[in-house]
């Protein structure tokens, strides 16, 4: 069997397992965590697009997630727009803001880009906290509605219950991953990878790299906005705490830990970042120290992340079995 066929079969098996999961997992809290992890997959795929493919670290992912979450919530709660519609509008509104924010920040290269995006995240957080007449400030907004049920020829897809929402999150996470795969294998994706490898060279070859960087930044932000909308309508309560700089750093950790620049890496990383605190619960106070340590240690000892490491191990094993 060719490695490609093997990989496709693996993906199909994983997808089937994901579809059957609610039949096996009966513990509501566990399913809750899995839904959160799937939302984080959307966020991490976006982060990977700019950080892993393009080589520009953006520290605004949680801020853009907040923009998406508040856009969708405010449109549905204050203006009474249909939830399905506001959830679709959230990534578009986030993208519009990202175009405005991306243009000045992409005029600077490398680390300065990261610092400017971090400033954006701080600005978003301050505005969400301070503009309380609109956002409810620290007290937040409660009773964010779930999307209404969808019924197709007698079959009712209920988004009000956890299992129904699980499938929504699964669909969105899969689509986000497919979108990133499409980008990676297109001409644009090759330009993005080339920017990471040698930006001066690709500019000398006549490519206007800022357009591609802006594209990566905007798509990355709109995925974060989509994740935010999914999050807000799932949790049902919204305040700025989920959108601070810490969470942007967690998105970076998810990408690095899973495998930056790979498609499977952000999936693994997102699950790790959501599930790790559950196992570290005893050490809640040490969480920041432990996360930071994992980030430092991964970058030093395993810079390519878990997925390439495991893949390499499997390949070595297969080669040994063949002999």
């Amino acid at each position: 069997m060719s490695p490609r066929l093997l990989r496709r079969m693996g993906c199909a098996a994983l997808m089937l397992a994901a579809l059957a999961l609610p039949l096996v997992v009966k513990l509501p809290y566990f399913l809750h965590l899995i839904i959160l992890a799937l939302i984080w997959v959307v966020l991490a795929q976006g982060q990977n697009l700019i950080q892993g493919f393009t080589g520009y670290v953006s520290i605004a992912q949680a801020g853009f997630m907040g923009i998406g979450a508040y856009s969708s919530t405010l449109l549905s709660v204050k203006l009474g727009w249909p939830v399905w519609f506001t959830m679709a509008a959230a990534p578009l509104m986030t993208a519009a803001l990202a175009v405005l924010a991306g243009y000045p920040s992409l005029r600077v290269k490398g680390h300065y880009f990261a610092i400017v995006t971090l400033a954006y995240n701080m600005v978003i957080f301050i505005v969400l906290t301070t503009w309380s007449s609109l956002t409810g400030g620290e007290a937040g907004i409660s009773n964010v509605p779930r999307p209404p049920d969808v019924s197709v020829v007698g079959f009712v897809w209920s988004l009000g219950d956890r299992v129904g929402y699980y499938y929504l999150a699964l669909i969105v996470a899969t689509l986000a991953t497919l979108l990133c795969a499409l980008i990676l294998h297109s001409r644009v994706g090759r330009v993005l990878v080339a920017i990471r490898q040698n930006e001066a060279l690709i500019e000398a070859a006549g490519v206007q790299s800022w357009r591609y960087k802006l594209f990566a930044f905007v798509v990355s932000a709109s995925l974060a906005g989509l994740a935010g909308a999914l999050y807000a309508h799932f949790i049902g309560f919204l305040n700025p705490d989920a959108f601070g700089v810490d969470h942007s750093l967690n998105a970076i950790l998810a990408v690095i830990l899973g495998g930056s620049g790979t498609l499977a890496g952000p999936v693994v990383g997102a699950f790790a970042v959501v599930f790790l605190p559950e196992y570290l619960r005893v050490a809640e106070n040490y969480r920041l120290v432990i996360y930071g340590f994992i980030l430092v240690a991964t970058t030093i000892f395993m810079p390519r992340g878990l997925v390439p490491l495991v893949a390499q191990g499997l390949r070595a094993l297969a080669a040994r079995l063949k002999r």
Binding site: P104, V116, T130
Partner: protein, 285 residues
């Protein structure tokens, strides 16, 4: 008018602290090429340590700050040796991600060691002079003076001493410096100890002027980099101008627009400068 002068003076004090932060960042960046984002968190540790030494040992503000600077220098050497040196030859993005990880770790350690409550360092310098209707607080003057002497000391170290010469050599051309017998590891350690000592001092000044609390460090690091963006990279005069511009615009924003949005306005200044003069206010085109 008096109000404007008053806010400018307040802004100068804060701006001089930002310059000290930025100077610590620019020596590390200019010489080792590392965007040492954890600098702000190291500064916060310095502030907490100054508070701790002052309370526990009963010593004055300046001796406590000096002790905190010593500990800060040791932290800097450790960080360089354990976290940054292993990735010296890896792509620059790795060092930056390590800096983010270090930020989380140091913030976490600060939280564990000193708690989540905000800390204000008490100083005996509570006098206020009136100069033509403008209230000049003794503490603010002392902060500006301290910042100026730190900046001067570092400038002298880099331009006048033998160590400074080897630091400049590494900054200009690392392989050539190695060939000429400069010990790069030693230079890296010195640069990090100087930078972190500066950071610790800045943290102490922030603690005396405003307050220190979890999360302040990240904001300080962003402002330090904002100063470098404003002033243009690798230039000490640029860092001074950038610090003053940032501090004064922030104080003006707090005084005349809204104190809740002062950081937002400071960052807007940075973004406007990026749009129209991406090379910085004093940078060459």
């Amino acid at each position: 008018m008096t109000e404007i002068l008053q806010q400018m003076l307040n802004g100068l004090a804060m701006g001089s602290v930002y310059t000290v932060i930025a100077l610590g960042l620019t020596v590390v960046f200019g010489i080792l090429g590392i965007a040492h984002f954890a600098h702000g968190s190291v500064a916060m540790s310095g502030g907490y340590l100054t508070f701790f030494f002052g309370e526990r040992l009963g010593i004055g503000f300046f001796p406590a700050m000096a002790l905190a600077m010593l500990v800060g220098a040791a932290i800097g050497v450790l960080i360089e040796r354990l976290a940054y040196r292993p990735v010296r030859d890896a792509p620059h993005i790795n060092a930056f991600i390590i800096a983010l990880g270090l930020t989380m770790m140091i913030e976490g350690i600060n939280l564990l060691a000193f708690g989540a409550d905000q800390v204000v360092i008490q100083t005996p310098y509570r006098g206020v002079f009136k100069v033509g209707g403008v209230a000049v607080a003794e503490l603010r003057l002392l902060v500006i003076l301290t910042a100026c002497s730190l900046i001067g000391a570092v400038a002298l170290l880099i331009s006048r001493t033998k160590t400074g010469k080897s630091i400049r050599a590494v900054a200009q051309n690392r392989p050539a410096a190695v060939l000429m017998g400069v010990n790069v590891n030693r230079v890296s350690a010195i640069v990090f100890s100087v930078s972190s000592a500066l950071g610790a001092a800045a943290g102490a000044l922030v603690g005396a002027l405003l307050a220190i609390a979890p999360g302040v460090g990240e904001g300080l690091a962003v402002k330090g980099f904002a100063v470098l963006i404003l002033g243009g990279l690798g230039s000490v005069p640029g860092a001074i101008v950038g610090g003053i511009v940032l501090g004064v615009s922030e104080a003006m924003a707090a005084g005349f627009i809204s104190s809740a949005y002062k950081d937002v306005i400071a960052f807007m200044v940075m973004i406007v400068v990026l749009l129209f003069r991406p090379e910085g206010l004093l940078g060459k085109r």
